[in-house]
Symmetry: C2
């Protein structure tokens, strides 16, 4: 029933345990499905004792990387430790030893992808990372293969489940950010230190990877402008809904004539857009290409088994390549060097919420500032007024980020403006 | 810049023209993307004159299949004629000649898949068909590769754009079926003879293919129970919405312990389900696997360029396999022989709309019939009563199709029941 192919797992945390379980559950039909039988020969863990309870045969556990690296029978290394080091060193050493690698490590792929892909290519090895973006949702392979006939102009989506859960609770139950975060922590959706999620860093890494694959040009984590959701209030969400929009933490990457723009930020999105109804911890990635037009991929963006589903898909692909003698069949597809557009040159509509003195002339003064900075106002609503202070919500027409920032600086200097409470971009799918 | 690989197109209708255009638009970067350059050497058409206007070089047009079959330089045949013959003969002859095949032909794959796959496997040739299901939406490759680590238990969705457009118009504008069909015809969404769409045949073929790929066991068109949307009325849709549901033409396939069930039918689906908001001519496929849980794929299910996007993805994959010497790398994945469950043994909740005499005792009589046939009623609403006739809507609990059919036969014999206006299944995602 086909060759046995030995593999090693690095890490036995949530995803590692999931991969171990999924491979077990596929054991009986694996050789019929992919033509070979994958066996986990070693698992690298820090604490042998703690890990022993998680596997059938604790004899496969080791805390010595060399035992795996130097075992020529092990042809696939599955890196699920996360973080930069020692993951990067281990992956590079594995590739140099001619081993194929599957990883779920978005931090590493987003920051150091080039060196890893170059090494894999040089050694004719597979280096696959479907699980690094949007967990269980197939997106990397669809972009590299199914949609390869397209010039993709946009890839955007909800790629962080923790923040989507928080925003969903704020939207559906009117909770404030801190309460929703506390609930997410209690339910296990947020980690003890939620910074990477709520500040948008995790989403930023995924956007860098998605943009690189979609536009065939390297975009790294540093190229992505990032804003988190910590300043969003229930009031912002309520006003957005009154205007027919929801607020989502969106990762957006566009391939424009002036270069690639990539950012993560809480954005207003029309409630009729398919992404607006992606709630709780679900993720979804929306793409636009010149042939396929719009397509969306929806599912679980994290979790033990969904993420393992993506990793095992990669492992099976590596095994199929080994069987066919076609390792490295599809490697790095970043054959362009597109410039990165400066954030100040991006264009969006903007939602501004501000507190101003409730007297004649204030609106005229504000309108003057916007006009001077070439920003058109497309909607202006006074939401409430009390104690001489009016809350005003403004939606601008499409404007340059740099111009908006200038206008905001001017508004801040303006005596009649007591506070600029929120500045949010608006996702405009009409353009 | 890589080898030139010659291909031939069979057919230059909507999709054929799209493929021709998409390959042109990829010309400049193709070799960097996939390592080789694909050139269309011949296009088989019926009418040389008519086709000449559609291509840059009419010299590549031919109406002689032998010219393509016997040209050893042509390594890829792209079948876009549709229908059973001569498409089947040409594909088999191409495979026997060692040529690789990409097709968008759902009729053929759904009915005669086994012979085509067996021949491809025997000749070590690629036979790819991503475009045969849901047009531009990547679904075959994600199922065969990305999600290969799953035991899929369900695959279902909206896989016909024409009927989805019609039902959307009936839902959003209260149109009756005949008016919505007339509009679809006027706008080019429905063909002159719309039978294959509105009777569910087109969707049935796609469900057969999806089930085969998802469950690793051959399901043919004949195995799929099919009901179209011609009997759906605006009233059914209005009542469904009052109950928190939309009506969609759903293709459903489930892998159960008693065998595979596969059917296409208009169904009530909760308005909160992601599929309920898939409107107009969009398609979406929903899958459930033991590892990935729920995932959905959304996009354009038809059209010149979206369908061409899928075909070109396949062509690029064939070219990559040729480059890597890995043709036939992933062939037929139907390695099981699961039984097909009889429709009468499937279980669903049901929506019944009927006209009954408006007098004491009728409900008791009906309830007696349902009870005798082991069908529980979970909702019963009298919608209106006039001229001695009451309109009654019933939603049943989960019931066996055979039992429902028995109950309906009994109800038909019942003097107090003047008409059974509608019997629709209800998609229940809670089970």
């Amino acid at each position: 029933m086909g060759e046995t192919i030995y593999a090693a797992l690095l890490g036995l945390g949530t995803v590692g345990t999931g991969v171990y379980k999924v491979l077990k559950s596929q054991e009986a039909e694996m050789s019929k499905k992919i033509g070979s039988q994958i066996k986990i020969k070693k698992i690298l863990v820090r604490n042998l004792e703690k890990a022993a309870a998680k596997v059938d045969d604790p004899g496969i556990l080791t805390n010595d990387w060399k035992e795996i690296l130097e075992d020529d029978e092990i042809r696939i290394v599955i890196e699920l430790m996360g973080g930069m080091e020692p993951a990067k060193t281990y992956i590079l050493e594995a590739l140099h030893a001619g081993k194929h690698v599957a990883t779920a490590n978005k931090d590493l792929v987003a920051a150091e992808g080039r060196e890893l892909f170059d090494t894999a290519q040089e050694k004719n090895c597979d280096f696959l990372f479907e699980a690094a973006v949007a967990g269980g949702i197939p997106i990397i392979r669809p972009l590299k293969q199914c949609l390869a006939g397209n010039h993709m102009t946009e890839v955007m989506g909800i790629v962080n489940g923790t923040t989507n859960f928080i925003l969903t609770k704020m939207t559906q139950e009117g909770m404030e950010f801190s309460d929703a975060l506390a609930l997410a922590t209690k339910l296990g959706y947020a980690e003890a230190d939620p910074t990477a999620d709520i500040e948008g860093l995790d989403a930023g890494r995924k956007v860098a990877i998605l943009a690189s694959v979609a536009f065939n040009s390297r975009v790294t984590f540093d190229d992505v402008h990032i804003e988190g959701i910590t300043k969003i209030t229930a009031t912002d969400i309520r006003y957005a809904r009154e205007m027919g929009c929801d607020i989502k933490l969106l990762g957006v990457a566009r391939n424009t004539e002036q270069g690639v723009e990539a950012y993560v930020n809480p954005m207003l999105i029309p409630s009729t857009h398919p992404l607006a109804s992606v709630n709780d911890s679900y993720n979804a990635v929306f793409v636009h290409g010149d042939a396929v037009e719009d397509a969306m991929f929806f599912g679980r963006g994290a979790g033990e088994l969904p993420t393992a589903s993506a990793v095992v898909g990669d492992i099976f692909d590596i095994a199929r390549n080994l069987q066919a003698g076609a390792s490295g069949r599809i490697s790095c597809t970043c054959y362009k060097e597109l410039p990165i557009k400066k954030m100040e040159d991006t264009e969006n509509c903007y939602f501004l919420r501000l507190q101003a003195e409730d007297r004649y002339g204030v609106l005229a003064e504000m309108a003057g500032i916007f006009a001077k900075d070439k920003v058109s106002i497309s909607q202006l609503v006074q939401k409430s007024a009390n104690q001489g202070c009016a809350e005003i919500v403004i939606i601008t027409a499409l404007a340059r980020e740099g111009d908006i920032q200038n206008a905001i600086r001017e508004l801040e200097k303006c005596e009649a403006i007591r506070e600029i409470s929120s500045v949010l971009r608006v996702y405009d799918n009409a353009r």
